[in-house]
Amino acid sequence: MIKKVYYLYIIGFILFSLFSYLFIDGNFFYLDFLFTGIALHDRVLVSLVYLFFIIFFFLMYYFLIRDIKKVPELIKKNIFLTVFAMLVLLFSYPTMISYDIFNYAATAKVAFGYKENPYIVMPIELKNDSMLRFTQAANKIALYAPFWILIGALPYFLSLGNYLVLILLFKFVAVLAYFGCLYFIYKISKSYDAVVYFGLNPLILIETFVSAHNDTVMMFLALSSFWLLKKRKILMAGFILALSVLIKYSTIVLALPFVIVVINNFQKLKINWEKIYFYCFVLLFLIFILSPIREEIYPWYSIWPLSFLVLTRKKNLIYLYSFLCFLLMMRYIPYMLTGNNFGLTPIIKSSVTFVPTIIVAIYLLVNKKLLKNN
């Protein structure tokens, strides 16, 4: 049964990668020969197919984590198929559900191509650049912290001016960070379960392999920082945490548990690491739910708390959080259906995410199941 589930899961992602090409922007002239316009004209159909995919992925994920002990062996036995699926997913169309990767590329081009300060010069000021035809946030200065902009130099120079290669390299950076996260999750937890919870989560896979969000890079650095901290390499850990903060700022909240650990280290007190990871989860979750103050809750922000939640071994909470991830992936549907972010779209987005989460959380709290270790 579990073997079949795993195969179905992999095949699902290969099909999802093909499905992503229905979302090609007509203005993205590099791939205009693949443009069908289906995502624009058959919105209901496309939304239903997306809905089907998300339900299917989370259902398969649920079956996989229910039988989690068998999954690592399954992956080992099917390593070629797994790698093949990941490669196919890596080549999926990147702006199916988020245009952020185009912003990364635009920022890199402003900084390293035009040699202008991306915190001052907006891409839109570089008139007649072909990237303006499809870059969505061209009227904004750089949205990310300096270290992310610096990282952008690598894909930019390696691409040798080829935009498609640049996009692919940004994806590659995200995927490398994903594997980095898996590595440090294992190093910290010494548990394959934690790796599977994180690595096979459909939201993580889609937001990393398809949309290539830099959140994975930020969390890779944060996790490596806490691993170094565990090894009592405080200075190095602090430096790496600072780099993580300089990707997207959110991990600044981890400074608090970081300092607590350092103080405990100096006082030679025993550190309850599971508690520390739980604090990290709670703090990142707080930042995550406070994100509407700045803009809105984006599904990929949920990568932050999940990175530490999987280290806590709180199985019920991981289940509940996976359900939240499922609802977050639903947030893309109102836009997919209507093609705009106005009117009822934001209301539906919020309702889809929070009403079921609150109902389930209350139910679990009433039944006193939450936070109870398996």
């Binding site: 035009y114 040699k115 202008e116 300060n117 915190y119 001052i120 010069v121 570089l126 008139k127």
Partner: protein
Amino acid sequence: MGRFYQVSILLCLFLFVFVGKSFAQSSYVLPYPGAMPGNKVYKLNQIKDKFLKFWYFGDFGQFDYNLKLADKNLVEAKILFDYKQYLLGYQALLRSDDYYQKVKPALKLAQTHNKDVSDKKTLLSQASQKHVEELMKMKKDVPQDFNWSPEKSPSTNLNLWQAIDNSIKIRKNIYD
């Protein structure tokens, strides 16, 4: 019917005169100058402005930086002249000129780097127009000469009109 034509012609003349006047003025907005001389943070602001030069790297960055500071110093000069602080105003005006003269080279450099500068050129012409407007107003409010006599050094004669004329010339040269 004849009355209708008379009223129409008068109305057209009225609109022509007033609309014409509003078009003659530049829509370019000069910034709020921030701390003025005498304020505790004024010196700090000046140091900050010097360091910002490195933050505003790149051709467009330098264009923005020099134009911003030319604007800021012009407003500073205007306010100082209003308060009859002629020496400080004169110095601010010279600083504004200095920054303004660096705007066009930055734009030329951008052009040599194959950047489309059409929007920046429009902005610069609007800025020049606004600067000239303000300088002409300033000239009406300041004396032609001002003799500055500090306590422990010989006095200096500041030819304010000449300085303003020179500033106008710089703006017009860049505008042309």
